[in-house]
């Protein structure tokens, strides 16, 4: 069996030591630190990315909250504005109506007064016309000039009667 040739032991051991020591140095000084570095960098990158994602999500949440409050505020202020406008319109309309009503009432009163005056006047005229007519009629028919006062009294009496 070639494995048991004692003379071959020493060269194998010598080269085992040489190659293993060389491998150990290359591994511990070059290869392993390099791999470790890359793995660590990746780990850091992943962690920082996760953190960033977390903070971004927080920001997004805040933005949504801010948007919602703004929306609620806008809604409330719109409601207030609409209410105020409505109130203002109402008071304005009320005032206008009062004004118009007052004006109309004034005009109505004026017209009433005018009508009353016209009637008074007309009634006055009727009285004169009636007394004149009565006087004329009397003088023509019976040839008597009647006393003005008597005629007027008679006219007034018949007008109140007629009324």
């Amino acid at each position: 069996m070639p494995q048991l040739i004692i003379a071959d032991f020493s060269p194998q051991l010598v080269w085992l030591v040489i190659s293993f020591v060389a491998l150990f140095f290359v591994m511990s000084k070059v290869a392993l630190p390099r791999i470790g570095e890359v793995l660590e960098a990746r780990q850091e990158r992943v962690t920082s990315d996760l953190e960033k994602a977390e903070s971004l999500r927080g920001e997004a949440d805040d933005a949504i909250k801010a948007y919602e409050t703004a929306l609620a505020e806008a809604r409330a202020s719109a409601h207030n504005t609409a209410q105020a406008a409505r109130d203002e319109m109402n008071t304005k309309a009320e005032a206008k109506r009062g004004e118009v009503e007052a004006k109309l009432a004034g005009q109505l009163a004026e017209a009433d007064a005018r009508i009353a005056a016209a009637r008074e006047e007309a009634v006055g005229h009727i009285r004169t016309v009636a007394s004149d007519t009565a006087k004329t009629v009397a003088s023509r028919l019976i040839g008597v000039d009647l006393d003005d006062a008597a005629i007027e009294a008679a006219v007034a009496g018949s007008m109140t009667e007629g009324n």
Binding site: L4, D8, P11, V14, L23, M27, I35, V38
Partner: protein, 245 residues
């Protein structure tokens, strides 16, 4: 000579390429030395070239390098704990050296340096002595409590302590023998079946199929033995550092 060539064991012969003698020590450059150098060069190239890009998102080769790094790092963490980090370069080198020796040895006409008992024993004894030294340095005299099972009557200790001692001392032997025997047996078997292929002529196709299957098995064994050697190293390291039993 020709009979020797056809022997299934001929593949394990050490061939001296350059005779070197350092202070009376035979340090000849042999086929074994050549494949050890090829092994460490292959490991170095694979781990450095693949990491050249240092990409955030690894490619195939970088994934292989990172995977082997994390495989050993996890093994060490699970078996030894955080104190094992110091020994990571050594354990990693050990695993890669055995794995690549085993794998490269499966290339036809190559040489498997781990199929020699002296090589596996060399590694096992370094692990054994190193672990023992670490235990003694860390725990001084208390290290001997490793051989005294707790909660056992004093009478039984007379029997148990020698058993524990022997089992501790046989660690390097079992470690070395396991790897060596697996490598040698697998390669011998492949060679024997290879001989059948030639001898049976047309019917050689049957042993050929068997060789293909065996080769697949040998690939698993090559990985498994590297893994077992490394895991046992971790366990021994754990014993020396934590002393629990």
């Amino acid at each position: 000579m020709s009979a020797e060539k056809h022997s299934p064991l001929a593949q394990f012969e050490i061939k001296r390429f350059v005779d070197i003698d350092i202070a009376g020590v035979d340090a000849s450059f042999t086929n074994s030395s050549l494949w050890m150098i090829i092994t460490i060069v292959a490991i170095t190239l694979m781990l450095t070239l693949s990491m050249r890009g240092r990409a955030m998102v690894p490619g195939r080769w970088q994934s292989v390098a990172e995977l082997s790094y994390e495989f050993i790092a996890n093994m060490l963490r699970e078996n030894v704990g955080s104190e094992g980090r110091k020994f990571f370069p050594f354990v990693f080198s050990l695993f890669m050296f055995i794995l690549f020796s085993n794998m490269l040895g499966l290339i036809p006409y190559s040489f498997t340096s781990t199929s020699h008992i002296i090589v596996t024993f060399g590694m096992a004894i370094v692990v054994f002595l190193g672990v023992t030294l670490i235990g003694i340095i860390r725990h001084k005299g208390k290290f001997l409590s490793l051989f005294v099972p707790s909660g056992v009557p004093a009478v039984l200790l007379l029997l148990l302590v020698p058993i524990e001692l022997i089992s501790y001392l046989t660690r390097p032997v079992s470690l070395a023998l396991r790897l060596f025997a697996n490598m040698m047996a697998g390669h011998t078997l492949l060679k024997v079946f290879g001989g059948f292929v030639v001898a049976l002529g047309m019917f050689g196709v049957f042993p050929l199929v068997a060789i293909v299957a065996l080769y697949g098995l040998e690939l698993i064994v090559a990985f498994l033995q590297a893994y077992v050697f490394t895991v046992l190293t971790c366990l021994y390291l754990n014993d020396a550092i934590h002393l629990h039993h």
